[in-house]
Subunit: 469 residues, 2 copies
Amino acid sequence: MKLSSVKILIFFSISVFFTLRMEAQKPFSEEDALFIKNIFDTSLEEGKAYFWLTNLSENIGGRLAGSPQAAAAVEYTRQEMEKLNLDTVLLQPCMVPHWVRGEKEQVRVVNSNKMGTVDLDALALGNSVGTGPLGITAEVIEVKSLKEVEELGREKIEGKIVFYNRPFDNTQLRTFYAYGKAVDQRVYGPAKAAEYGAVATIVRSMTGKLDDVPHTGVTVYEKEDQKIPAVAISTMDANLLSRLLSEEPVKVFVRTTCENLPKKVSYNVIGEIKGSEFPDEIIVVGGHLDSWDVGGGAHDDGAGCVHSMDVLNLLKMLDYRPKRTIRAVMFMNEENGLAGGLEYAKVSNEKGEKHIFGLESDAGGFTPQGFSCDAENDVFVDLFQKLNEWLPLLEPYNLHLNKGGSGADIGPLKSQLGLLCGLRPDSQRYFDYHHTADDTIEAVHPRELALGSAAMTALVFLVDKYGLN
Amino acid sequence: MKLSSVKILIFFSISVFFTLRMEAQKPFSEEDALFIKNIFDTSLEEGKAYFWLTNLSENIGGRLAGSPQAAAAVEYTRQEMEKLNLDTVLLQPCMVPHWVRGEKEQVRVVNSNKMGTVDLDALALGNSVGTGPLGITAEVIEVKSLKEVEELGREKIEGKIVFYNRPFDNTQLRTFYAYGKAVDQRVYGPAKAAEYGAVATIVRSMTGKLDDVPHTGVTVYEKEDQKIPAVAISTMDANLLSRLLSEEPVKVFVRTTCENLPKKVSYNVIGEIKGSEFPDEIIVVGGHLDSWDVGGGAHDDGAGCVHSMDVLNLLKMLDYRPKRTIRAVMFMNEENGLAGGLEYAKVSNEKGEKHIFGLESDAGGFTPQGFSCDAENDVFVDLFQKLNEWLPLLEPYNLHLNKGGSGADIGPLKSQLGLLCGLRPDSQRYFDYHHTADDTIEAVHPRELALGSAAMTALVFLVDKYGLN
């Protein structure tokens, strides 16, 4: 694109904020548009999100609940929030699971007629048990669904390694939907296979991208006898294994030494600015501080944490004094237990608090496209309509509103009958990195991240200024 | 983000297309929504854009007008369009400038008291003259604008190297606006400095990113005596040079061997499907086939070319028979002359053609956010309103409409009184790569690119089916 067309672009961009037709009855003022512009300008030029995220994802790194890195992340975010001159910064204890990966996983096709011995790129699934030091070797059976395991029955499954290989539906515009349609294989597949006598489970990594990168993530056993080892392999290796299985019986060797250690105490990290007029109306913004142990947890969910801290930071930088109480919460243990989110809601309910608004960022640090909004049925329509009245202030920033989920950590607050929203960034690249060694600061663009902070701050500002009644 | 929140997302995503309330008076049908979904599905799963772009940007590479690579790109896209079973594929000749970079540029701070000798990362500006084999050494004077050169006058400028160092305004949400506010330094700065006796010009690279990567791009001389050598240096080196200048006088050595060779014949590559009902109503989609010589011209503007070819490809794959004539044009020489765009319009005008709609992609292969729309004043309101009637079909794909520029290549068609649009992708990362050695296939995400093809195809389909009257 060259100068002539840029000139035309500029012509139409002049003072976009002043062309909003601010009629008398509009539920916002011209000053609001200016303040939101200040929020975006400040975030793009002076926001701290990228600086914080670099420390969190690179200098601290992967930080699964119970790990030393998780403890470091708690202390780091506590210290950083204390520098923001908030009214309160505190740690809220919660008991978290403590799963450790152990030695590097070995997953290996053995003695194939076609290919000999082939190492597969693999990661143990979080919460899964290990194979023991000698590993397991067994024949592999490929399935596309949990239902297929049931249909095949014990006769076909017993003694085998079940290989779940249903790929992402790449026609889903929003990649989270593709994830949602595939992830039952990882979460419930191992337990289901165990019910029919499988000795281990291999799952195709949860991504639509074809590459060598394995994706970890939680699996769930409901009974003690469902605890068989479970690993994810890369999508390239899943395709390889599937092709091989179409030609000959295949045996795979799996060795993992992961284990669940006793629960530990960890913490939500909470920073608060007390409301000057309605201190009992609470607005919470949050992300989860824990991440998987591989990679740096940059998009998932370091981005959400630094977005949330930046909401308080930007409001402070702009000398905004909130009417309502605004909290930023770094939730602990979203990935494999949700202990932090549950504890936060429990304590809040016990205190009789009312969260009028919750906003979580847990979908990455990409360019924001808007917010998805959730609430109990009785109150949703009114709350969502109120939000939509502010759309003319948000649309100049390419921010739109839709119905949808908010976030796992704030979800338990729904019974307080407030509005819950999730930041909704562009999702196209998210599952390239999700739960992998590649989820590092290099995968995050500083401007895209800063736009997320600004988007959240703008919405928090409007809710704080006008309330949701 | 974990399973519980994904489930909620899915709940709301079910059959988004069927929840569009299709009332009788709506200017589109339920089938249109389904067809557009087919377009997106097909593009995401079977589109050819990424495959073509890999060949264009990696196997052919940078392809400045007049270069062997530009000739290869003409032949490659001609061959690929011939495979699409179109009604016509042809080459349209045009005369293009032939600038060559020559040897690697040398730009070097010499004999600084503070730093000794320091090499700066630099690229000659397109169209600029060389220094001659011995290079030029002169004292540097830093300015922030062309106006400042005028104010300083010949006394301060004569015999010096003028260093334009006004940075991007990073508060601009859309990075193209920041480019538009800075690029006069590169385009007109050297000629202006020459008017006041400068011997060479150094320009801060056109990006808001702080790194070591120099950005080339065109400069324009209006008179023979304005032809002084001109280079761009990286933003890191611009900051370094500026700091050094604040402490001591600085001399810089510049050596470039670039030159303008005689004009050459080159070609626009045109593929066409003849309209079955209104063949005289022409719809054109396009990008520019030339790129700068460094890098692979992947985002600028290989993406636009493969987007445009994919429009025809996707319509063919979906067995769509257009009512109107649809052309894909790979325009030649947008970067340093616009010969292709001007020639296309000239020939079209001579034939008395009417382009009812033009759509250019020249803003990168990132996630599309919609279209910017332009037309002559007399007709703009009606045409833009017609387009807006289709918004309910576009918004589910995060596509929005606004007034703005279309594209440099199709701009000359404006006098035919049709509607001209530009694809408007997310712009945050564009100027990390623009006109640099980093504009390669690695900078392009396959899904983001495919969404651009689909967005363009959807809009072309609607214009074709319903017209713009």
